[in-house]
Amino acid sequence: MTDWILFPIVLPLLMATLSLLPRRWRFDRELMAILGTLAHLIFCLLLFYQVKSEGIQVLQSGGWAAPFGITLVADLFAAAMLVITGVVGFAIVIYSLGTVDELRQTFGYFPMLHVLILGCSGSFLAGDIFNLYVWFEVVLISSFVLLTLGGERDQIIGGVKYVTLNLVASAFFLTAIGLLYYQVGSLNFADVAQKVGSLKDKSPLLMTELLFLLAFLVKAGAFPFFFWLPASYHTPPVAVAALFAALLTKVGIYVLFRFSSLLFTVQGNPFSTLILWLAGLTMVLGVLGAWSQTDIRRILSFHIISQIGYILMGLGLFTSLSLSGGIYFMLHNIFAKTNLFLIAGMIALLGGSYQVTKLGGLFRSFGLLGALFLISAMSLAGIPPLSGFFGKFTLIKAGLAQGAYAIVITSILVSVVTLLSMLKIWHHAFWKDHPEPNINLEKKWSEHGKSRIYMLLPVLLFSGVTLSMGIFAEYFLNLTHQIATQLLEPNIYIKAVLGRNTL
């Protein structure tokens, strides 16, 4: 039996180190980035199939048994998230080859990209809360550098806000870790989950969990902590913004799911009502923010927030159906949202601006781009038979089954506004005539030479995934249902971690 679980961590680390070497000691950086992320994707897929056929995979590093050593755990949820990280990383590298300028590439763009993938992979696999904290910091540091690399004025100012908010969240996270360790005396997820139940005084525990919740809500960009996200995501190159949109907030959400499954449930999930309220407010405020914007990247940034609300809705209801719907929605959203960011980059390249009012006439010249945009945009709004519909449908069904009518109505109304703001981009950028009457868009496009292919390939890939997630929705919903079942049965996880090696 091979421990595939190690490879998604070791490989990006190796790639990051190798691509930092001086030029004469290494291969071409671009080639290494392509091959490295492709290999990462393949390892993630292998791990996914191993988890799917053999059950939860556990690696006790150094042979130290579970509560004492550092444990890596891959259950179905972690493995699925890893596969997505692999796909997104690979696609973003290809897109970066065509769009990220030479200066940024020289000053460590690709090494940092590898480190970000490393951090995300580590966060998904961590079986220990302090280990998770360290992976979070790895993600943070690499995202700081990627965000501010290039040193443009907006980047720096956006970076200050992003860094501050995330540092405060990290401080809260670490405080909560200290308090939890004081009460339980262990930080291994499975061990903590087992010991928490036998605590005599549970009120300090509630406060500790609230601190955890706070830290992860900041990372996830939920109400009322979302303002760092639209203040910074539109500043870096579009490839970086797309990568952040795909992975960063989702790491926060992933950890919330994990904590809910293992820790919060022990006390009968005290935060479910709170999370539902936050979910509703996040949805509404995010989408209203998006509606009021005219910069494409800012519209999309606000939509990230709005869709975090849907995922939180799945978490707040906390039934098998709602968790399944929430996870399906997260998977769909990563692909659709990343794709929209990538397309936004192409729109800006063609039209020369991110402001929708300055754009126009793209559909006449580039019908294919319009079609690709429409697939993702309609998927985001939840039009059947695209992937977003099945996510929202499952969530609403779960909400109705629980009698949570307020959140169901909110989510439907928010969908309509989502559609409206997507139509705003469509109407301005694609349908209306270009404000300058005699502009030749085809000529501008053909000036970009080879980078056109680099940009189009990932967009085609993501559009294909979005379409197939809608057409083969049954397979994906089955998968998310299995994930939800695993999350609702924390005993399987605990047994897998503690069972094999305990004396």
Binding site: G151, R153, D154, I156, I157, T164, L167, A171, G178, L179
Partner: protein, 110 residues
Amino acid sequence: MQDLLAILIGILYAAGVYQMLRHSIVKLILGLLFLTHATNLLLFYVGGIRGAAPIIEEGSQKMMDPLPQAFILTAIVISFGIVAFFLVLVFKAYQVNKAEDLDELHWTDQ
């Protein structure tokens, strides 16, 4: 000793939050530093501050829990790196913006 440490941690948290809420961007860094120090001290406190050094030898007595101290070491290294990065970032922000007031940094929020 233990109570004193607890009070000190509380003061550090309060000072950190207070400094972060002020206008100056330098005080923002100071606030973040206070906050991370408070957190590190909290981790130290959590391990218990009575007992011998955690080295197992003959006739060793009741010892401290070494694990939180390992946590602190990791956390200190991480916060050191991040604060170093943040200092450079803030300096750069001052260069491009020519203002030290956080209220002047609003234009990416529009």
